[in-house]
Subunit: 280 residues, 2 copies
């Protein structure tokens, strides 16, 4: 069984850092001439998968835009995830789930159990209730060769209340989260491999201000905020420094807004821009 | 249109603070002789609704235990929520969703849009990305007479990293969340009414340690941690002080573990214990 860390590393080696977001926002469904419904979201997702397959390594469906339609939306998402994985794409379910104990474990099971209807390669989680509450999910991920990406630092000013606050030892909450996960990764990750538990760190986060430094061991970094939200491929090196090769650079609207017919071409173009920026 | 704050207040006046958690945990499904499946979760939920209707005012389905089964689990949840609302119960969907911008708005729409398949009376949300990211959800709630309960403080030691950290002005993150929401409530809530945006504060949280004080204006407090998790009805007054009348006291396992046949009797017994403890 290959691990999530190994699969992501191989995918980024082959295709570069670009990850295509699958965000069937109501306004995009309208622009694409699709129904604002679960059926429209399904059609949208399948077309994005078609445009992404063979051009990037990773896609990131945004769960809320499917959950919006209730169970039929989640059914559409199941079909989109299955099609993506069938095409060889790594699927990160952007669900940002967070809870405690067996409640959190059930979220992990929903998204990471091999054979489950929503089975993905990794899920994003929210550590507001404590990194320790995610331990069951981390263990479940390891058993299935899956990954977990822990929200660590975002750049929206609203987030500073919780993320840039300081713990008793003076570190920021963001730094504490990265340290707790990295300590666990150090115990569980074979020398030289990428860890399976990574982070969500916004593309425009100021690492110094957030109290972040080099990741040890290396772990995937999902970085939203590229494209429409402000960061460009050229920001990869200056923003992430030595961590730049770990970045899964997520773009959504900047790719999806070109319309259904031009998605594949746009994906190719953007993927090449990221590879070039990394000098690869 | 009655507001969520008005409905909760009337329900607590009539039935007292007990809220029955609907947690179809795999082990409980087995104890109840039900399939560990979406169908089992549906059956479980409908039986709990039967046992709760007319005996308490509020139920709280735990979304993860339905999401566990993917879209078919969410379909079961839709049926449980609809049955509960049909019976006159107030439904708090315990989803703890959190994200930014239109992504967060789509979660709000999923749970709070009148007529949506998952339509509930209120949803729990996670403020790790900032209270400001929840503004669209707050506005959506107001338009539909719905409520939002914001995670503010829990008592699990893991949670202290993020929740008890201190902002630049020395307040805890928990206190900052309560202050930001309360400030908004003060602008939007008519004099003497309960606000529609309330909080999730664990039953065993030390308010002083968490930096919390009296809520102004008054707002519902969903308090998990009663029953199996450690707090008893007699803790209501000493723990919550003058805020005790605002508390929606959630019990799950302590009620559900008695088995399907005894749930109604157990709900009546526990509901009476809470009413007595409040001296009502």
């Amino acid at each position: 069984m290959t691990t999530f860390g190994q699969r992501v590393r191989a995918a980024l080696d082959e295709y570069g850092p670009l990850c295509v977001g699958i965000d069937p926002h109501a306004s995009l469904l309208e622009e694409w001439g699709l129904d604002v419904s679960a059926q429209g979201a399904r059609e949208f997702g399948l077309r994005v998968v078609d445009g992404a397959a063979g051009r990037v390594g990773v896609v990131k469906p945004q769960v809320s835009f499917f959950e919006r339609y209730g169970s039929s939306g989640l059914r559409a998402l199941e079909q989109v995830i299955a099609a993506a994985r069938q095409s060889g794409l790594i699927v990160i379910a952007d669900a940002k789930r967070g809870d405690i104990g067996t409640t959190m474990d059930a979220y992990g099971e929903a998204w990471l159990t091999p054979g489950a209807p929503l089975e993905s390669d990794a899920v994003t989680v929210n550590p507001f209730l404590g990194v320790g509450t995610l331990e069951g999910t981390f263990q479940l991920a390891a058993r299935g060769g899956k990954g977990v990406l822990v929200l660590a630092a975002t750049s929206n000013p609203d987030a500073f209340t919780a993320q840039r606050a300081r713990m008793a030892d003076g570190r920021t909450v963001s730094a504490g989260i990265v340290a707790d996960v990295s300590e666990r990764n150090a115990r569980t990750t074979p020398e030289g491999q990428w860890a399976d538990i990574g982070f969500v760190i916004g593309a425009t986060v100021d690492w110094h201000d957030a109290g972040l430094s080099t990741l040890a061991p290396e772990a995937p970094i999902l970085a939203p905020g590229f494209g429409h939200q402000g960061a460009s491929p050229r920001d990869l090196r200056p923003r992430f420094g030595s961590a730049a090769p770990l970045v899964i650079a997520s773009e959504s609207r900047s790719i999806l807004a070109v319309g259904a017919d031009r998605v594949a071409a746009r994906v190719s173009e953007r993927a090449a821009a990221y590879r070039e920026a990394l000098g690869g």
